[in-house]
Amino acid sequence: MSRFTFKLFIFSIVPIVILLGSYLYLDPFKVLYHYDDYSGRLSFNRDYVSTQTFLNKYNGKNYNSYIFGSSRTIAYDPASWKKYLDNNALPYLFDASCESVYGIYTKLRYLDSIHAPLNNVLIVMDNDFTFATDHDQPGYLFIKHPLISHNGYWNFHMNFIKAYLHPYFLFSLYTYRITGKYYSFMQNYINKNDIVLDSITNRMVVPVREKELKDNPDLYYSKLIPMFENGNGEVRDSVDMISSAAVTMLEEISSILRKNNTNYKIVISPLYNKIKFSVNDMKRLDSIFSHNIYDFSGANEITNDYRNYYELSHYRLHVGDTILRRIYH
């Protein structure tokens, strides 16, 4: 019996030691050690990167203006935003993948708790992500930085260890590391193109994509036209999304912004699905944020042109510039 137990133990422990050892050595998600630059190809937790970059740089840079929202904030260049702000504005893009009202609230709560100046705030809301959840989400791409969420480091790191131990991930990671090439089976874990992050403003850019769009936009969109045709659905109001817990968080956000005398604006994203933000939800937002809401959802000149989008989900930089121009003039 003891021989059996011992061998079974050894059989089980060998892969665990090898896998955990390689995880500690490689730190594939960049969540174990200090990094100055998070740019790369591997899919990372955007919330963690945004928070950690902020923590690394805050003392030297003294940020005082923040953009909050999901990956759709890629359309808002902090440098462009700065043009509409005071001369002393130091903007920082504090986004997260599929950012929720919970994420925006906890980030603002944290900034307020450390007495960070909140001179300007731009909140980008989407009708599919912002109110889809009102609590921390599991999964290595979405779980919030424990410093902000107070949900514990153990739980946070377990999400990454679980993701690392998935055979698909291991296969994708090691194939990429050995060959240095991207294959379609890696798509869930490794980005096709390099993602470059500005180490000061945390702005995210995909240079290859921007170059393709600049050099030959017709070629770029010829590959995506079937996708856009399928996504051209009817215009309609979406269902009410804002839960009572979300209302409480929105009120807290409003309270923090008022307390800091913040110059803030809230943008509802122009998504290609053309689903109009719910009337009831708009009324709630209006009442909480005193009409500082700018709704670009539904069918309009932005959403009617697929060339305003990188793909179905993300609108382009020039759209962000247009929106900024409109809301600040």
């Binding site: 019996m1 021989r3 059996f4 055979p167």
Partner: protein, 487 residues
């Protein structure tokens, strides 16, 4: 609680630790623990049906004693029929009531009546076909004087409801399992290692092969009109792999778990797709059910020691009853009937026992003739599986018609190549080839992995096992229920 779930892993780990480390000195406590665990396992499906299981157990235990104690042949027969009637009554009610009502209504409609009959929403208790047959074999064996009834209710209950075999077999015999329940069990290292290897191979069969194929089988069988004839053939062949991987995988896991607990269960599969004729296939497929019908139906009907017409009649009876045992649908009866037709020439010309040993027993490869025989047998069984998988007889006929119509269409083959390339990809076909390669290499053993790798260096053997585990983890997200749970 599926065998391939984390819940089962935790459940079994707890049972294993208690069984071998805490109460290993007391056989009585070990059996009580296993009985309690079995009832817990069953209650996890539906606790209400525990009462049915308990009642069925008590009925057979009691009637077994009554048969033994009856002084006269008539008294024994009376108790036997009471047990058979109640057991089959429950089985008939839960499994076949709606089928009979619907079939009777359809019959009346076909001769011009408009009957107003309503069916009941009856839930089929998991494993009822299996534990009913356990109990019946016990009663029959007592009646035939093969065994004495046990006077220990816990031991008997454990024989009926032992959790590895409770919901999908193999169908055990009291002559085989009860003595193991009654005898003290000692931990055996080789038996436990064998058990773990068999569980691993069973998981690979179920998770990788069966669930991997199920995705495409469901796609094709759910909407056959959308696919060309050659793609429908792919669907049928994938179902042949799926049902074998699913059921034999379950059996391997059940046998492996039992070995870890010191039990040896009956073998249920013996490489059926390497059979050279249908008779051999049926000696290698669901062996515990085939032998049950042979011993308790075929032989009492006269078996093969009668005239040719009675032999033909008896063969049709056991195949049709076997088909009906699988489910209350005409498709299963058609499947049984088709298999009876296949085997008929072998019965008539007394060729049904030509292939008793495994193919190419002392060679690495089969001869050309053996290869052709295996291919033809596989094609025949695959054709019959279409009835087994289809929702109705008309759906099966329509599926076969579409295959037939699609055979001359050259574009259909291009579509099939496209389906394999774009939808299925290379991984699953590669894993199926690997699976059959391992099965072929291990065909002389009780299960494919029994001796493979035993002479390799440890690092390569363990790497092989790690790769099997990794394949299971990759495919586990596709999770499907075990097909035979519905029977």
């Amino acid at each position: 609680m599926l065998f391939n779930s984390i819940e089962f892993l935790i459940f079994f780990f707890t049972v294993f630790v208690l069984y071998w480390f805490i109460i290993n000195k007391s056989l009585k406590l070990q059996n009580i623990l296993l009985l309690f665990a079995s009832y817990f396992f069953y209650a996890n499906w539906n606790w209400k049906f525990l009462f049915l299981l308990a009642f069925s157990t008590f009925l057979d235990y009691y009637t077994g004693l009554k048969i033994e104690n009856s002084g006269s042949k008539r008294g024994k027969r009376t108790w036997l029929w009471i047990s058979v009637a109640i057991n089959l009554g429950f089985l008939g009610f839960f499994k076949y009531f709606n089928f009979f009502i619907e079939s009777f209504a359809e019959l009346l409609q076909s001769i011009g009546f408009q009957p107003h009959m309503s069916t009941l929403s009856i839930i089929l208790p998991v494993g009822i076909s299996f534990y009913t047959f356990h109990g019946l074999s016990y009663i029959f064996d007592i009646y035939n004087g093969k065994i004495k009834p046990t006077r220990n209710f816990v031991n008997y209950s454990l024989f009926v409801s032992f959790f590895p075999l409770l919901v999908a077999g193999p169908i055990e015999r009291a002559t085989h399992l009860l003595p193991q329940v009654e005898k003290p069990r000692k931990f055996n290292y080789n038996q436990a290692v064998d058990g773990l290897k068999q569980i691993l191979w069973g998981l690979f069969k179920k998770i990788v092969i069966a669930d991997g194929c199920a995705e495409y089988v469901n796609l094709i069988f759910d909407n056959p009109s959308a696919y060309s004839g050659p793609i429908l053939i792919i669907g049928a062949v994938f179902f042949a792999f799926q049902i074998y991987g699913d059921f034999s995988g379950y059996t391997d896991i059940a046998l492996g778990i039992s070995r870890l607990l010191g039990f040896e269960l009956l073998r249920n599969f013996s490489y059926p797709y390497f059979s050279r004729d249908i008779a051999e296939f049926w000696r290698r497929w669901h062996i515990s059910l085939s032998s049950w019908f042979r011993d308790y139906l075929y032989i009492p009907l006269g078996g093969s020691r009668t005239g040719i017409w009675k032999k033909i009649r008896n063969t049709f009876i056991i195949f049709i009853v076997s088909g009906f045992w699988h489910g209350a649908n005409w498709t299963f009866i058609a499947w049984g009937f088709l298999n009876a037709l296949y085997i008929m020439p072998l019965i008539i010309f007394s060729k049904n026992r030509d292939h008793l040993a495994i193919v190419a027993e002392n060679r690495s490869l089969p001869s050309f003739r053996e290869f052709i025989s295996m291919a033809v047998t596989f094609m025949l069984t695959t054709f019959a599986w279409i009835f087994f998988r289809a929702e109705s007889i008309s759906a099966a006929c329509s599926y076969i018609r579409s295959i037939w119509k699609g055979i001359p269409d050259i574009h259909g083959y291009a579509a099939a190549a496209g389906f394999l390339y774009w939808n299925v990809g290379f991984t699953l076909p590669f894993l199926i080839c690997f699976f059959f390669f391992i099965e072929w290499m291990g065909r002389r053993d009780k299960y494919a992995l029994e001796s493979i790798g035993n002479t390799w260096p440890r690092w390569s053997r363990w790497t092989f096992y790690y790769l099997l585990i990794a394949s299971c983890i990759i495919y586990i997200d596709k999770g499907q229920n075990f097909i035979y749970f519905q029977f």
